[in-house]
């Protein structure tokens, strides 16, 4: 039986651009799938196809057991969507926004009202409930947007870059909310450009690039595919770089790379923490003073780099995002 979210061979073209080039997904009920990829990879288009906003040119999509193309309205009753932009009416109060969405989910006015009170409480917005959302902070708006997506406690949720443009504190808060939500058994598809976010929230990760899913698996599986651990050492004095490199060569499983200007040496290893201790001892014996030493496991950034040949871009998309780094695309160094 297919999962709560299932897609097979989704294709969508816009003019000459093949935004989706055969996307396959299968998200088991009650799990979180992180859809990871740079801008323009097809994440948002995938979400739009699965949430009935966009009709794919071909392919099959089933959400909560319902065929998306055949019964879009039935799907809409079973999903919640929280978008990239906090899509709430800025002149309406938080309470009015939630009541309106409830009524449009076909709740009775009274029911919608009661549900709005519950959600405002749950998302710590009670104090601001009767202020127009124009006066809300970015984080508050995101929370309200999320609350609006949860009005009918849908079994399947879609979140398109829920934390883009939020400061770290607000991001952390929103993560907590999402974790709570998922622990209640909701199936969630989450798109993100933040590798850390996928690592943090998702059970499974699908890496998307150029309209295709290029890798699937748990965070650990993807990391294991990329390769093992490495040790990074920063020596205190430039003169010690050569000696330190000799030490590391003895322990390493590959070439040691040296960054002269930061006095940083990196070497791939196997053996984990125990090896780290040995390296520290050896460096100490040789009288090499170190500023920093660490055992690094591959990050999803490394995964992405090795899969696509470029790092995940983080740049602001639309007006909801701010402060994203522009132009971080780098060519892979082989």
């Amino acid at each position: 039986m297919p999962g709560a979210i299932y897609a097979e061979g989704l294709v969508k073209t816009f003019g000459d651009v093949r935004a989706l080039d055969g996307v396959d997904l299968d998200v088991p009920e009650g799990t979180v799938l992180g859809l990871l990829g740079p801008n323009g990879a097809g994440k948002t288009t995938t979400v739009r196809c699965l949430t009935t906003l966009l009709r794919p040119d071909s392919g099959k999509a089933v959400v909560a057991g319902i065929d998306v193309l055949k019964q879009p309205d039935a799907v809409r009753r079973s999903i919640g969507l929280s978008g990239q932009f906090a899509a709430v009416d800025e002149y309406l109060t938080g309470r009015e926004n939630l009541q309106m969405v409830g009524q449009l989910y076909q709740m009775r006015a009274k029911q919608a009202k009661a549900r709005a009170v519950e959600l405002l409480e749950q998302f710590h917005l009670t104090d601001a409930a009767d202020r127009p959302t124009k006066t809300y902070s970015g984080g508050m708006r995101r929370r309200l947007d999320l609350a609006a997506a949860l009005v009918v406690s849908p079994p399947v949720m879609f979140m398109d870059e829920p934390t883009t443009g939020l400061d770290p504190r607000n991001r952390q808060q929103l993560w907590e909310v999402i974790k709570q939500l998922v622990s209640g058994g909701t199936t969630l598809l989450l798109t993100t450009q933040y590798l850390e976010e996928a690592d943090h929230l998702a059970h499974d990760i699908a890496v998307v690039d150029q309209g295709k899913v290029i890798a699937k698996g748990t965070s650990d599986q993807l990391k294991a595919r990329t390769g093992g651990e490495r040790v990074e050492v920063v020596v205190h004095e430039r003169d010690h770089i050569q000696t330190a490199a000799d030490v590391l060569r003895g322990f390493g499983k590959g070439d040691t790379t040296v960054e002269e200007h930061t006095r940083k040496l990196t070497v791939p290893v196997t053996g984990g923490a125990k090896l780290l201790a040995e390296i520290i001892r050896e460096l100490d014996t040789r009288g090499i003073e170190i500023d920093d030493i660490a055992l690094r496991r591959p990050t999803l950034d490394d995964v992405f780099l090795s899969l696509t040949g470029h790092v995940a871009e983080e740049k602001p998309e639309g007006n909801g995002a701010q402060g994203g780094r522009k132009d971080t695309r780098k060519e892979a160094v082989k």
């Binding site: 319902i66 009753r77 309106m100 127009p132 009918v152």
Partner: protein, 285 residues
């Protein structure tokens, strides 16, 4: 599948028409709340027509020839039907801008992901805009009375006819908001919706009988003016108000202006509502 059974807190609607009406009212209420929180929009919406009433009355008043007359009083009584009609058509721009703004901010996406009637977002918007149009008309009528506009100066009228004229004006305004809705769904930004919502309104409202006697136009222009849907409502208002300057042209819309006004408005609604809702269904922000 258990995921589905959990979801059935929300039953599918029993009746599509009831749902459509209910959803439209929810959206209309939302737009009316918005308007009440942005009173400056209503105020600016009033300034232009009031300015037109005052400027046309006092600047053009003495020199415009209406029928055989160039009296300022006749022009004043002639003018108001035109100004009223022009004012209701300007609602097009605000509904277009409002809908483009909703697209831009992602609200249309949210609405489209909800199990609501497909036409309700636009219907709610156009209905709310009509409430604003009605409000504008009331204020404008008071201003017109202050500067000396009177009904029944050149024909029979009564309260029923005057109300019927305002009814036709509201219907015309409502029809034009659907043109605005289509524009709003078609352009990318609210700014573009405002300007593209207004540009074509100038020829439509000026190549008409609104401000001048079409009898003085060159024949080809006169034909356009007399068949202009907008002119039909203006003529109908003059007839119903009993105001001067009614066209005696043989063109059908001028002869049967009340019917022509009704038919044109209903046609515009039917065509543009269909196009706008179709656009809504496939909207991609």
């Amino acid at each position: 599948m258990s995921a589905v059974s959990d979801a059935v807190r929300v039953a599918p609607p029993a009746n599509a028409v009831t749902q459509s009406f209910r959803d439209s009212m929810v959206v209309a209420k939302r737009n009316l709340i918005r308007m009440s929180r942005i009173p400056e929009m209503i105020i600016y919406g009033l300034i232009q027509p009031i300015m037109f009433v005052v400027l046309f009355t006092y600047v053009f008043g003495g020199s415009m020839q209406i029928g055989g007359s160039t009296s300022a009083v006749d022009y004043k009584n002639f003018l108001m039907a035109g100004i009223f009609a022009q004012t209701v058509t300007f609602a097009t721009a605000s509904s277009g801008a409002g809908i483009a703004d909703d697209m831009h901010k992602g609200l249309i996406d949210r609405f489209r992901s909800l199990p609501m009637a497909r036409g309700a977002v636009l219907t709610g918007r156009t209905l709310a805009d009509s409430v604003q149009t009605a409000l504008t008309l009331v204020v404008l009528a008071v201003v017109a009375l202050i500067v000396g506009w009177r009904v029944g100066t050149d024909g029979d009228t009564n309260v029923g006819k005057v109300l019927a004229a305002f009814g036709l004006l509201l219907l015309l305004g409502y029809a034009f908001t659907w043109i605005g809705a289509l524009i709003g769904m078609s352009v990318r930004t609210p700014e573009a919706a405002t300007s593209s919502g207004l540009i074509w309104l100038f020829p439509v409202t000026f190549i008409s009988n609104a401000f001048v006697d079409t009898g003085h136009m060159t024949p080809w222009l006169r034909h356009i003016a007399e068949w202009n849907p907008f002119s039909a409502t203006v003529q109908a208002c003059r007839v119903l108000f009993g105001n001067p300057g009614q066209s005696h042209s043989g063109a059908w819309p001028m002869q049967h202006s009340v019917w022509a006004s009704l038919i044109y408005s209903v046609l515009i609604i039917a065509i543009f509502r269909t196009l706008a809702v179709r656009k809504y269904r496939s909207a991609t922000a």
